[in-house]
Symmetry: D2
Subunit: 143 residues, 4 copies
């Protein structure tokens, strides 16, 4: 009863210092799905005055981690790929929507779309695959 | 004479606030090559007490951007992929080595290997492709 | 009037000997979209008696090429990634659906989903990016 | 004694009808490494009179499968990515060299470089990750 997706998310976030630094807000969480929101700050920009591609990726990667671990089955990232569309700028609010494409006992694959709430544009497309370990996120063998 | 790879790097870094936040140190820069170093801080960790995969990616992405823009030809990231090997921990010093795999007038591809100086392990493998615009990084049409 | 997506497709197929070998059938073609069908033959299997991953990829790659070239603007593949879900078997009919995720003057990105008509399962997920040259597929500078 | 990398390769090839169709020749096989050679035939071309990107991928994918299964531990492809450099043409002999980048009990990652023996150019760069099952390729639970 306790280890709901929301409870797992809260527990992970407690010590996820980088997601805290990103300033992410949870919009939706369920098994295999996660929607997050954040706002682009000056310290997230690269030398071309746009959101650093690595921060964009990190935001998608957080949504991917929360979606895949929401089953309370510890899942570790194996590979991820990123395709960039339109850059986001300081002050823009961006949304990451992670959905599950496939799920087996051992692996799962997710798509994360990053959209810009200010312009309606797609910022980037992320696709990642996890290895699902036999350990729990929260429980006897919790992290 | 002025727009050497090192000069372009310095100019990009001046306003690359996120690379500054990462605390990256330049070890080597030339056309198509860049080696960077940084140390993992607590605020870079995820909920499993290891370096957030997005920060790992961002570090590789910075090396990739500096290597590809060192020609002073403005290059924008199209796609990148990441494969994770061994997680890094707080206090570890990690090195990103970006090398050029192919180069045409319009596109170029780079590999970035992230290694852990403390353990000697490979942390992650990044591969990215840029579109090389007809604009300069520094010059009449500078950013 | 002449260089419609269907006309470009037919012209490309005339000398696309490998797509002919695959036995692909066109279900739908328009600018940025292509749907193809083919049936798995014995000579397409790997040593585990399932459809060779390379043939699965090639089928997706053909849909990707037809979708991106349907504008009659010669487009060359830069990168592609593949995620495997469920293997297809001899005799299965599979469908590749290519849709456009983003389009600029110089580049474009497509997703191709391969589904198995016999089982309803997703076989694999392909994502690819093209460089859009300034040449035509059919016309004065045709291939 | 019997299940050497070469023996596993031979056994896989016996029913790997698509690798047979490709006409691949084995140059080297060991645990985690495989080098193959093949010659581009007319039926492998796409509509632009160059080697179909899917055939290039399939050739890399075969080298990847042989390298990863050479331990006689059944390994299935999870994801792969491809970056294209220079096209190969009819009559060209191409070589695929698969090397292991990382290996754990459950997963492994390989790079495959495709080179053109006729021009010395790099044709394409492949990177793939397998899930290593607990089954044998050859033995009590053989395929």
């Amino acid at each position: 009863m306790q280890n709901t997706p929301k409870f797992v998310f809260d527990k992970m976030m407690e010590t996820d210092y980088f997601s805290q630094w990103l300033g992410i807000q949870l919009l939706e969480i369920s098994e295999g799905k996660c929607v997050l929101e954040m706002t682009v700050r000056k310290e997230m920009l690269n030398g071309f005055a746009i959101l650093h591609g690595g921060v964009t990726f990190a935001f998608a990667d957080s949504a991917f981690a929360f979606a895949s671990n929401a089953y309370n089955k510890l899942s570790v990232s194996l590979t991820a790929s990123m395709t960039y569309s339109k850059p986001a700028k300081e002050g823009d609010t961006i949304v990451a929507t992670a959905i599950e494409l496939s799920l087996t006992n051992k692996t799962a694959t997710y798509d994360v779309v990053i959209t810009n709430k200010n312009t309606g544009e797609t910022v980037a497309l992320f696709r990642g695959t996890v290895f699902r370990t036999s350990r729990l996120v929260i429980g006897n063998n919790s992290y």
